[in-house]
Every structure is written in C-alpha cells, then in structure tokens.
C-alpha cells in the first residue's frame, strides 16, 4: 500500500522558523533528514520524496471566465505550511504511521524533537484483481 506523508512545518515567529536556528541545530536536522530518507530508500520503502520551496513564493491560481490563470500573490495566512512529502510503499498503515512518527520527531532547536504534524494519506490504487 502506498501512503503520502505530508510534513507540515511550523512557520515560527518570523516568516520561517528554521532560519533562526543555530548552526549545530541546522546540521543535526539536515543530517537527520538525510539519514531518515536514505533509510527509507535502503529498506525499499521509498517511492518518492520532495521538498517544497518556501510559501513566500507560492501562488494560488484559479481560472478566470476565459480560462486564463488568475494568480493571487500570497499564500493564505496559516500557522503551518506544507514543507515537503514522502511517498512510501509499505505493508500496513501501521508501518506508515511508524515512519511518520520518526519524521515527526526530527530534531529542532537545541536538538529537541520538533513533533511536527505529519499528515498520512493513503494513495488510491487500481481496482483489486478479480478472483
């Protein structure tokens, strides 16, 4: 079964929480993410993963009546934003939750776990084989 694990990062006090961390904390966080994603790949569970550019560059797009794009300059205000996602292929939802919990506890300021909310959604699949 495939699941998408969406990492919702806190915006923090400024525009972006992570930009105020110390060098050590940054290093620990980066190293964690590399090891974590590398581990998923090594266990054959990783389907894909992407990090998203900051919400400051995001645009909301709707079609106008003549189908041309209308873009809104700014992302709506929210405390959290989608920072990236993993798609994993695992045997059970429980395994997906386990992986999500591991990501959630990524180290943040002072090496403390971030406890980031990770939204876990199953990816829809083809109909089952008829027997």
């Amino acid at each position: 079964m495939k699941f998408m694990l969406m990492m919702n990062a806190p915006k923090g006090d400024g525009d972006w929480g992570i930009s105020k961390w110390s060098q050590e904390d940054l290093k620990a966080h980066i190293s964690f993410m590399k090891t974590f994603t590398g581990g998923l790949a090594a266990r054959g569970e990783l389907v894909g993963a992407e990090g998203l550019a900051t919400p400051g560059q995001a645009k909301l797009v709707r079609a106008s009546k003549d189908r041309r794009p209308i873009t809104d300059g700014v992302f709506p205000e929210s405390k959290e934003f989608l920072a990236g996602y993993w798609i994993v292929d695992v045997d059970s939802p429980e395994r997906a939750y386990q992986i999500a919990a591991e990501a959630s506890a990524a180290p943040g300021k002072g090496g403390e776990p971030l406890y980031m909310p990770i939204e876990v959604r199953e990816v829809m699949s083809a109909p089952p084989v008829e027997v």
């Binding site: 525009d15 972006w16 992570i18 930009s19 105020k20 961390w21 110390s22 060098q23 904390d25 940054l26 290093k27 980066i30 190293s31 590399k34 994603t37 590398g38 790949a41 993963a49 990090g51 550019a53 900051t54 400051g56 560059q57």
Partner: protein, 435 residues
C-alpha cells in the same frame, strides 16, 4: 529497457557506435524518428547477444544491419497498414493501381538492406548532423537534452528518466514528441548552411552545457545518476571536439567542464552539504582533469577567436591552479570577467563580476556595483543577488545586514543544499563566530 544497468562489458563500444549507426540508417531511410527507434532496438539486441555469442567481427556493420532490418519491417508494416486504409477507402477495382505511398522512405532501401553485408560505411559528418538535429532550436531545451542523450549518447529511455527523476513513460513521451517536432519542422538530414552554422553550433554547445549542469547541481538521492550526466556531457563534448578540432568554443566548453568537474569530490561534505570554493579541501580535486583542462584552454586561447566558454574555462583554470584559496589570482579573474561581461548579457556574469570586484577592490566596491544590478528585472527576487550581497556585506564586516540577506537568499532558493548552506552561513554569523 534496462540495457546498461546490467554492467554490460560492451557498453562503451555500443554508446560510441550509436550515433554512427543512427547516421547511416537515417541517411539511408530518411525517417529519423523511426531510424532512432530501430537503432535502439539494435543496441538492445547487441547487449543481449554479444555477451553470449562474442563480439562480431564488424560490430558497427552488425548494428547497422540489425537496425536496417528493423527499418524494413517497420516500412513493410507501415506500407501494409496504409494500403489497407487506402483500400478500405477506395473502390476495390482500384486496388491494383495503388501507387507507392508518398512520404514513405524509398523502396530502394529494401534492396540496400538485403544486399551485401559489407554496407557499413559511415560518414564522420553523420554524428555532427545528428547533434545539430537533436539540438534544433525548434525543440524546447528539455526535449533537446532527452533526445541528445538517447540518439547521440545511446542511453536508454529508462536511464534518462532515472537521471532526471521522472517516470519512464514521461520521458518516452518527451522523446517521441521531440522527434515529432523535428519531423514537422522539416529539418533536412544535412549540415546547417554556412549562415545558420554559428547559431546552430551555439545551440548544440548550450544543450551539452545544460546536460553537464544537470549533473553538477546534484540533489539529494539522485547524486549518483546525476554525476553520470556530467560525465556523459564531457564524453559528448570530447566527441564533438574530435569532429570539430578547430572550433575554439568547443574546446572552451570541454575545458570548462573538465575544470569544473575536477572540483566535484571536494564540493560536498558527508551530509551532502555544499562546500564553497574557498573552503574546499583542494587536495581532493582531480589533478588529471585539471591538467588536461588547463592544457586545453591554454592551447585554445593562444589561437585567438575568444568566446564565452573559453573565458569561463580560463576563470575556472585560475581557480583550479591556486593551491590555497588565498593564492587565487583575483586580479586576473576580474580581468577575465571584464572581458566576459562585454561579450555576454547574462546577469549571472554581472553578479560574478561584482564578486571579483569585491575581492580585488574591496567589498564596498562590489556592493556599489550590485546596486546597479538591482534594476535588472532578470535578477529581481533572484536568490543569487541576495546571496552575493550577503557575502560582500560579511566581508565588509556588516554582519547584521549579511545575516538578513543570507536569510532572504535561503528563503528564495529552490535548491535544498543551497538553502541549507545559506541558512548555515546566517547561523554562523548569528552565533558571532567566523570560520
């Protein structure tokens, strides 16, 4: 198709022969798109048969024959299909008078393909013509890159897809659409005219440089495959220089790639973090590549006819020749950027020029120059101008402003390693330390 992934021993030979075979088959049958598919099938057949049956006496002739057989099969089935369609649409009594279908390759090709097995001559110009074709300005750069890697590089669609991190079906579609655009644009299978040649060669060099850069700016998880893209770009540039030994910009591009790629082992740390030029462990640099690149660019520059790739290679050579970052000959780099700026309207060149000015005449002079670039729309909101400003501000001792600009740059970049690097710079200054 996973031809190369098995570590097949004849891989290099196959990749080298691929464009020659494709040239011969396209020349004979005229239909580039179908010929390209036929050659891919022939390469696949070779990778399955040669390891078992041994290398044929004439590998190129073998490949041409197999590809030609595929082509005749293709033409026969196309002809049959069209005839069925024509028959269905016309009176049955007309059947015998159906003329050979217009637009299909000449049936004379059949005679050739079933004829003497010694039809193996290839024209050395074929590879060049193919390169011009695959990098035709009618194609988007992503299509040109994909088509070049398959038709000239002899890579499979699966390999190209892996390197660009897209599904194989997406890449297959991109390649087939690229071939369709070439067909529609009616590009003949011949050398560009004298008037077109300069622009067309520039397009080829640009595509090769894009392939190189795709591999050089590696991102997490994709590092290995993407490094192979750089090696592939270098291999193609080498082949091109062999065909055009007197084109100084081809030599310049190859030298630039070698001199840049030489620093790859020192460019990232254990966690994939970026290490800037002045902090790299220079003992890790590839000396062989540097020696070759320096010799090539020195020989080329002495011939005259200087172009942008040669200048960039010369700048890379100055960096590579400094044993320590403090030894860097910045006045020479500044002079080279001055020349380059006159030749190219690229705002990134102007940015690098500002850094060189900062290194030679002090950071304030560099910052003054940056102010003149703020008005350039192409740089507005680009992370690079914020990053350069941060760097110069730090050199000038204005750490608070430097931190702010590092953060702005981190916020704008779309590269994770770059973002992490910029954040680390801001954090380092915020902690009140240097180094």
């Amino acid at each position: 198709m996973t031809r190369a992934s098995t570590g097949f021993a004849h891989e290099n030979l196959l990749r080298e022969l691929a464009p020659q075979v494709l040239g011969a088959v396209t020349r004979r049958f005229g239909d580039f798109g179908a010929a390209e598919d036929a050659v891919q099938e022939a390469l696949l057949a070779a990778s399955l048969q040669w390891p078992k049956e041994g290398l044929p006496d004439n590998p190129r002739g073998w490949l041409i024959q197999v590809a030609a057989r595929r082509m005749t099969d293709h033409i026969r089935s196309e002809t049959a299909r069209r005839r069925r369609e024509t028959v269905a649409a016309t009176d049955a009594s007309m059947e015998r008078s159906v003329a050979p279908v217009v637009g299909l390759p000449s049936l004379a090709a059949f005679a050739w393909s079933s004829g003497a097995p010694s039809v193996t001559e290839t024209d050395p110009d074929d590879t060049l013509i193919l390169l011009f074709m695959c990098c035709h300005p009618a194609l988007t750069s992503s299509s040109a890159i994909a088509l070049t890697l398959r038709a000239i590089g002899g890579l499979t669609t699966a390999e190209i897809a892996r390197a660009f991190l897209v599904p194989e079906s997406t890449m297959a579609q991109r390649i087939s659409r690229a071939k369709q655009s070439i067909k529609v644009s009616g590009v003949p299978f011949s050398m560009p005219t004298r008037e077109e040649r300069t622009d067309r060669l520039a397009a080829v060099l640009h595509v090769l440089y894009l392939i190189f850069n795709e591999g050089y700016t590696s991102s997490f998880g994709a590092r290995l495959q993407r490094a192979e893209l750089s090696s592939e770009a270098i291999r193609l540039a080498r082949a091109l220089l062999k065909l055009l030994p007197n084109e100084s910009e081809v030599a310049g591009l190859l030298a630039l790639m070698l001199l840049t790629d030489a620093r790859r082992p020192a460019r990232t740390g254990p966690d994939g973090e970026l290490i800037p030029l002045d902090k790299q462990d220079r003992t890790l640099w590839d000396e062989g590549a540097i020696t070759e690149g320096v010799a090539l660019i020195s020989a080329t520059l002495s011939k005259g006819m200087i172009g942008p790739y040669q200048l960039q290679a010369a700048i890379a050579a100055v960096h590579d020749e400094a044993k320590q970052s403090e030894d860097t000959d910045w006045p020479q780099i500044l002079a080279l950027y001055g020349l380059l700026k006159r030749m190219s309207d690229n705002p990134m060149v102007a940015l690098n020029h500002a850094i060189a000015v900062g290194m030679v005449h002090g950071p304030r002079a560099g910052l003054d120059l940056l102010k003149t670039l703020d008005a350039d729309d192409r740089l507005a909101g680009h992370y690079r101008i914020a990053a350069v400003r941060a760097h110069l501000l730090e050199m000038a001792g204005d750490h608070q402003a430097a931190i702010e600009h590092y953060r702005v740059a981190a916020d704008r970049t779309t590269s994770i390693p770059e973002r992490d690097y910029l954040l680390t710079q801001a954090a380092r200054l915020a902690a009140g330390r240097s180094g």
